[in-house]
Amino acid sequence: MTTYAEMQEVFDDIRNDFRYEHELNGCLNCGICTATCPSAHFYDYSPREIVQLLWTENIEQIYDAMQEKIWACAQCMTCAARCPFKNSPGGLVAIMREVAIKHGFQSAKDVLRPFGRVMLKLITTGNQLSPDMIQPDHFPDWGPNIQKVQGDLKILRKAIPMKTLQTTDTAWEVALKTSVEMYTIWEMTGVLKQLETMDENLFDVIEDFIEEKREEYDELLEKQADKEDA
């Protein structure tokens, strides 16, 4: 049972994000954000409601909304473009998501579990979806027609006249150095920490992968240094 104090902490984390002040100025309850929100059409979700809860500092209902509601948002930012107060409900939802992850909400873990495959690809390679993931068995509801020329994926990708795209396990070929730079960014900005909180197993897999790549890169640097000395 979460205590009120714990919920207060969660709200304070949201409020102390430096973007909060810019993205929430007050609310006229005009409803223009919900009017144009794609998620409001489909889910029991309303950006106006989220803003109202935050603005009136309704600690308990904010905590509640962070369980499921905030994951309905499609992050299209139409709300921010229309709000006469220049609030950004979509931006506020992004903050709330980060805070939910930071606090290791079980609901966040549940929501993100199916996203894990994509996360692995992203964190390790920097690309979201690689060609070898767009196969009928991964996305059966996209239909059987997602590839109108049959054949070996490697060959089909080599038939794309851009060198960088001639890969199958990444969207484009990423230099080793580039990947290693990205790992440094993930580390230094706390993203790997977030990942650890969300999915320990996935995190372990990723950590191993990153270590491997770093070793590879160190070897590459040594080889280059040797070549230069020679």
């Binding site: 430096f18 996203f115 109108k148 060198k163």
Partner: protein, 441 residues
């Protein structure tokens, strides 16, 4: 200003034709235009242009601005509030899109092919290399994993690479200017640039990270003068593309245009509005290219609607995405607009609309609509091969229909491509640019 007939600007109680000649009409309404000119809102200090703060920061020695110079042959356009935006047309660094390169390879290929056709030289006038990370915004918006710092660090890392990329080819720093392919990257970078310019703490923290990566210039962050989306390049080049390259008449085709949310609604003051396109009432990109090619661009009731991509939803909550896109976009384009093709300007939108049609059958919603990017459509109209260049074989929607309507034979193109595949197997691969250019580090 004579008011002898009452009302303003000749509007009586009824709207009657004035029967004025074009010149007379121009004279009569000139005073209206003076004040009512598109986007001439006198906003004074009440609207903030982040670029002013950016220049100020550079003056104070805090950052370096990657400038658009005459060498980039920039064209001026206007944005939502009538502010100026510089669009470089030459010497571009391709900031690729995960979704495009992974699922819609014909998207960037069509763009580079068009650049080649216009006489741009790879290695001098544009560069595509491996030293680029994803912007990581798709993941951020979908999962919340990530934060402003990581987004900012990635932004600056990539744009630093763009800044120095010309060195290995003997060019000056800043030679290649970054051209962002994806709408989400574009929106994300616009936002992140704002945070960086306005928040000193963020700059401090990110400087440490970039320092560790060796990606500072004189110890400072490099921030681009403008954040540029590929569709903006297409917009300013559209007349040249149509007049110099177009080979196929598309005036019989009805096209609907889907405007990407992250292009036009995220940091919406930075999007192109052009009085020649849709009266300047809606964002110009996408529509402008279709119109320049002579296609009929059809208005429809859900023009402003999101496609339903959702970032996370398209992967792990797909009923939302497909219900939304079929109901609000595909069905409308087919039934209401009776379009032959729906054009988009962003990766996610095109993926969403293209991949979520077949499933409609399961819900007795059988609607189909060929989906492709504005630049893919343009490339087709300029004679690009539907398979080898436009790579339409990766599109689940019935693009073969619109290809046939353009007078091309899908079957023949397919056969040619299958023959080409044999060549590829044997190692005889065709390239848009010398493959050695792609490898940097």
């Amino acid at each position: 200003m004579s008011e002898t007939s009452g009302g303003i600007a000749g509007h009586g109680a009824f709207f009657q034709p004035t029967n004025l000649s074009a010149q007379e009409a121009e004279k009569a309404t000139a005073w209206v235009k003076k004040r009512v000119d598109r986007r001439e809102l006198d906003l004074g200090e009440r609207m903030d242009d982040v670029r002013e703060h950016m220049w100020q920061l550079e003056k104070e020695g805090e950052i370096i601005v990657h400038r658009i110079t005459d060498a980039h042959k920039p064209v001026m356009v206007k944005t939502l509030f009538g502010w100026d935006k510089k669009i470089p047309t030459l010497q571009l660094w391709h900031h690729k899109s995960c979704g495009q390169c992974g699922n819609i390879p014909g998207y960037p290929t069509s763009l580079l092919w068009t650049m080649n056709q216009l006489g741009m030289q790879p290695g001098r006038d544009y560069l595509d290399e491996t030293d680029q990370t994803s912007c990581t915004a798709w993941n951020y918006h979908g999962s919340g994993i990530g934060n402003v710092e990581s987004l900012a660090a990635v932004f600056l890392r990539n744009f630093h690479q763009a800044y120095v990329s010309g060195k290995r080819l003997g060019h000056q720093p800043g030679h290649f200017y970054p051209l962002v392919h994806c709408g989400t990257s574009f929106g994300n970078y616009k936002e992140v640039r704002k945070y960086l310019v306005e928040n000193a703490t963020l700059r401090e923290r990110v400087t440490k990270i970039l320092g560790k990566l060796g990606r500072l210039v004189d110890g400072k962050l490099v921030i681009p003068e403008e954040v540029l989306h590929y569709s903006e390049w297409v917009h300013v080049m559209r007349k040249r593309i149509a007049s110099e390259l177009q080979k196929i008449d598309v005036s019989h085709l009805r096209a609907t245009v889907h405007m990407a949310c992250h292009y036009s609604k995220m940091v919406h003051e930075d999007a192109i509005y052009d009085p020649e396109v849709l009266g300047g009432n809606r964002a110009a990109v996408g529509t402008s290219m279709a119109e320049a090619l002579g296609a009929q661009v059809i208005d429809y009731s859900t023009w402003y609607d999101c496609c339903g991509f959702g970032f996370r939803h398209i992967i792990s909550e797909r009923e939302f995405t497909r219900s939304f896109t079929i109901d609000r976009k595909i069905k409308v384009a087919q039934e209401e607009a009776k379009a032959d093709v729906m054009l988009g300007i962003d990766t996610g939108c095109i993926t969403t609309m293209d991949k979520n049609q077949w499933i409609g059958r399961a819900h007795e919603q059988q609607y189909t609509m060929p989906i492709m990017a504005d630049i893919q459509f343009a490339a087709l109209a300029c004679g690009a091969d539907p398979f080898k260049i436009v790579q339409l074989q990766w599109h689940a929607s019935p693009c073969e229909d619109v290809v046939e309507k353009m007078g091309l034979s899908w079957g023949e193109s397919k056969k040619r491509f299958e023959d080409y595949l044999k060549e590829v197997k044997a190692g005889r691969i065709e390239y848009l640019y010398n493959p050695e250019l792609a490898v940097s580090a």
